[in-house]
């Protein structure tokens, strides 16, 4: 049995056991807790008043801007992980290559900063 299987089977069972943990607790709650649904209990909370309309409004555009910026940095991070382990054995070339990459990325961040993307209000 390979160690790859032995390692990642734990991840598989981790997701199964984690899901079961929540499911069992929910079933236990269903069996133990009182159930007395009522019309007012089924309304969503809005300061004790009846809710006005649905909560399906538009989301402000600044959330999307941060999400796009995050995507760039996250892809870059996925790229940096293998590099961080091996760059010493490759040497100075790998280091300056990644420095160039980071510089371009930081240039982008500086541009976004100057454009006011990072300003929340």
């Amino acid at each position: 049995m390979s160690s790859l299987f032995a390692n990642w089977v734990a991840v598989l069972f981790g997701s199964i056991i984690g899901t079961l943990l929540v499911a069992v607790a929910l079933v236990g709650n269903r069996l133990l807790a009182p159930r007395d649904p009522g019309r007012m209990k089924g309304t969503s909370y809005e300061c004790g008043m009846l809710p006005i309309g649905r909560a399906e409004g538009n989301i402000h555009v600044r959330y999307y801007l941060f999400a796009i910026l995050f995507l760039l940095f996250d892809v870059e991070a996925a790229f940096l992980f293998p590099w961080a382990v091996v760059f010493r054995s490759i040497g100075a070339f790998a280091f300056w290559e990644m420095t160039l990459f980071l510089a371009i990325l930081m240039g982008g961040l500086a541009y976004a900063w100057k454009k006011g993307v990072l300003r929340w209000s």
């Binding site: 981790g14 899901t19 807790a33 159930r35 809005e46 409004g57 995050f70 992980f81």
Partner: protein, 380 residues
């Protein structure tokens, strides 16, 4: 203690199930007592007593709370998006539970020691952002929706500095295996070489867990609890369980990555019981520090915390990566790692202090200034 590569009963998958079952049990007990410990610590800081009535010195308070949550009626708004609402607790809790798979507590104690452990933890722990968005969207509640998108914005933003700091440590250790990283610290823990990384790790970790001072997405006084408004009883308790388990995992991970985990300062091979004591002491230290922060700091506004992340933390952590690479690739003495990282830490602190002071002097917004000038001009 088990042998290093041995599996219980010699069967890998059975071993995985058993170890995960142990983790599930330990995690539940730890979380129950962490909630008690947090209330007690914060109470003492604020010169109160905290829980005293349930059991000796209130020790059973967490157990009583857990029982209450199981026995509480489970409510779901009739207008909620049913499946999104019901699956959100799974989506929040399961990724946190999965991070336990890769955390080494001692040399032999842990579920699995993945060679990509650090990458795995970073990848998996970011999944529960989806759960918060689901909870916010599915509840059909305006506060929940606002809290959910705020939580998402904050968690994805602070994800970046968190990843960049653990990368700094991975560069110094040349490995992503957390056990290898820990064992490289038998002489000097990495907090010495990477002080900036340690500080940013704690700050970003606080933000990832939505804890004070970054608790604006779940603030009671502003969005009445954020994504969890409509969750009650057992469903709500899974959000709580996820928060405190990730507090535990993050502290154990911080102890492993920066404080020398189960090794430092007792040489490269301390006996098993000593390893366990070391990791427990260091993890408790991290947890107490986080409780202390919660008792002391006021809440940040969302614009403040977003700009702090993007304008301070990310540039300095990227700079730290650059200097780490420079020192390591040209084989300069290790002490320069400390010099650069420390200088960046001082610089970041000073820049933040200056920015805060300038913002405090500046009136709230330009419109208010113009209004006031107009009033002066009219002689009011």
């Amino acid at each position: 203690m088990m042998p290093v590569l041995g599996y219980w009963f010699g069967i890998a998958w059975l071993d995985a199930i058993l170890r995960l079952a142990v983790i599930a049990g330990v995690m539940t007990v730890v979380v129950i007592f962490l909630t008690y410990a947090e209330r007690k610590v914060i109470a003492r800081v604020q010169q109160r007593l905290g829980p005293t009535r349930t059991g000796p010195a209130g020790l059973l308070q967490g157990v009583a709370d857990a029982l209450k949550l199981v026995l509480k009626e489970d409510l779901r708004p009739t207008t909620a998006d049913r499946w999104v609402f019901e699956l959100a607790p799974f989506m929040v809790f399961v990724p946190v539970f999965l991070t336990f798979v890769a955390v080494p507590f001692t040399r032999d104690l842990g579920v699995r020691f993945l060679s990509l452990g650090l990458f795995y933890i970073v990848a998996v722990s970011s999944l529960n952002i989806v759960g918060f968005i689901m909870a916010g969207w599915g509840s059909d509640n305006k506060y929940a929706l606002l809290g959910g998108v705020r939580a998402a914005a904050q968690m994805i933003s602070y994800e970046v500095p968190l990843v960049l700091t653990v990368l700094g440590v991975a560069m110094v250790a040349s490995s992503l295996d957390i056990r290898v990283i820990t064992e490289r610290q038998d002489v000097v823990p990495y907090i010495v070489w990477q002080p900036l990384a340690f500080v940013v790790f704690i700050i970003a970790g606080l933000a990832e867990m939505n804890r004070t001072p970054f608790d604006i997405p779940v603030a009671e006084s502003e969005v009445v609890g954020g994504p969890t408004v409509e969750y009650s009883g057992i469903r709500w308790s899974f959000f709580q369980l996820a928060e405190y388990s990730s507090l535990f995992v993050l502290s154990a991970l911080g102890a492993d990555l920066f404080l020398g985990g189960y090794i430092w300062p007792f040489g490269s091979n301390p006996p098993g019981w000593l390893q366990l004591i070391l990791i427990l002491v260091k993890t408790s230290f991290m947890i107490l520090m986080i409780f202390w922060v919660r008792a002391t700091f006021p809440r940040l506004r969302i614009d403040q915390l977003m700009s702090y992340c993007w304008k301070v933390l990310i540039p300095v952590t990227v700079a730290q990566l650059f200097f780490n690479g420079l020192v390591l690739v040209y084989r300069w003495p290790d002490i320069l790692l400390l010099v650069f990282s420390g200088a960046l830490l001082v610089g970041a602190t000073a820049a933040t202090a200056v920015a805060v002071r300038r913002a405090a002097r500046r009136p709230r917004d330009a419109q208010a200034v113009r209004d006031r000038r107009l009033q002066y001009a009219r002689g009011a």
